[in-house]
Amino acid sequence: MTPERTRVASQPNDTEGRAEVASTGATAMPLPPPAAMRTVSVDVHYGDFRAVKDVSLGFARNEITALIGPSGCGKSTMLRCLNRMNDLIPAARVRGEVFFNDRNIYDPGVDPVEVRRKVGMVFQKPNPFSKSIYENVAWGAKINGFKGSKKDMDDLVERALTRAALWGEVKDKLGESGYSLSGGQQQRLCIARAVAPSPEVLLMDEPCSALDPIATLRIEELMLDLKEDYTIIIVTHNMQQAARVSDMTAFFNVDLDGQGHRTGYLVEFSPTAQLFTSPREKDTEDYITGRFG
């Protein structure tokens, strides 16, 4: 795997020139930062039907990668492959390889619990634990065998909350329930919680879809801050959001077969500005300009 490959969104089924364009793009660009995660020909099946087909993507370290596309295109499914949250859905099976620091996380020897420790996740709706704000942040570290003193834990909690731009708002009420916060604050608490056990990658599944525009902007700003330390992969159905925050954008589309099953596939994986101003693929262009259906 050369570094160039990490930016290549190749679709073996469709070789008319997409791979060519992609690799041209890669050589024209400066060398990308090393990929923190990458997927190689990932398929996801739900029961008998294929929900996502043949996705190869590279997620560069300290960049934000956005996955966008119409509903049913498998972008969320894809995201959940990256920390084996799909294991929780009994019918879901993942084929292909997902590398985290060059280790395939679907190897039989790999413990999904450990994967999730390294690859944190923030969910669609803010979901704080029904504990105090402090406990919310501390718990992740505790179960991961945090060995420091009470003072160390206090520091860790403060650091995580500061990182999530929430410390100032909650430092005087760490003992209150996480639910006492507003929606946007709750989501930032969830980010602090995800950050506390020091993951390397943060997955975010439509983290702002339950928030109002002001809280949304605040989370977006936070993501841009966080990418200094983390590799962030975000799913959003808000194109504008992807445009605003991400460095790279992957556009997924969906095929309907005769039985009404939807199969998502990767259409284009480009630097965000390029994808939203001059996308390589006609499907992308149609989607972002609303000529679609």
């Binding site: 280790r103 996380i105 020897g109 790999v110 413990d111 450990e114 994967v115 390294k118």
Partner: protein, 322 residues
Amino acid sequence: MSDEQVEVESASDPLQKRARPGEMAIRGFLFICGAISIAVTVGILWELGKEALLFFQDERVSIADFFSGTVWQPQAEVFGILPLVLGTVLISIIALVVAVPIGLAAAIYLSEYATQRVKSFFKPVLEVLVGIPTVVYGFFALTFMTPLLRSWLGSSTVGFFNVASAGIVVGILIVPLVSSLSEDALSAVPDSLRQAAYGLGASKLEVSLRIVVPAALSGIAAAVVVAMSRAVGETMVVTLASGAAPRNFTLGEDALFGYILNPFEAAQAMTGYIVVTASGDLSYNTIDYNSIFAIGLTLFFMTLGLNSLSRRFVKRFRQAYE
């Protein structure tokens, strides 16, 4: 030293699978807890089946007569279950006639009309009704309902032990069941449907009866069936109020409405027979002892059928809204 080794190892493959014995042990314990329920069912089927088999193996009993016989006289060694079933069914029907309109209308009122304050008064009342032991209802049937019926309709029409009194009280007993399950179903209908209907200019009645009730219909049906199953299995009221004599009859000879279906005469129900038989001095391995298991098995399958039916309704209801 060893710590260091572990660290080196984990550094080389931080994602390596770990053994978690505590987790496995807990998992095993929890599975056993779940499996106990199977043991209970197996126990019920096995014991009831075994004793019932002994009963049917007795030369004095024939299966065909058991299920078709209209006379139950253990003393005379005549075992036809229909009189007991008749008692059970009569009581259950009367109970439903009482409980369904009251329970359903109460549920509609609580779910659609009642303000929060009214609700906070009525709901605990209904819950108290659920909590009252059936034996107290039996007492109530005997000391209030029967005298009331007798004073209204005349003690010549209404026997001291009678089906109507038992049925009405069983009905009262299952009202809260019908109303709370129906109310659950009605409340589960998303508020957005009501809003939509109001938004179209519907009156409260139209919203309730033409949108909410149809939407909750399978949930309500499940409630009714569960209530019926409860009525069938109800024991104490029946034992105390409807008498200890099976209503033996002969089709064609006995007047259908005057006797066979007469609600004001006594009729022992299946559960009543079991209790009465068991509370006497019961010696094991007699035909009496075995007969209660045969009846119990029949009762078990009747309620099982009703419960399965109700679960099917519930499933349909859930599919619509989940």
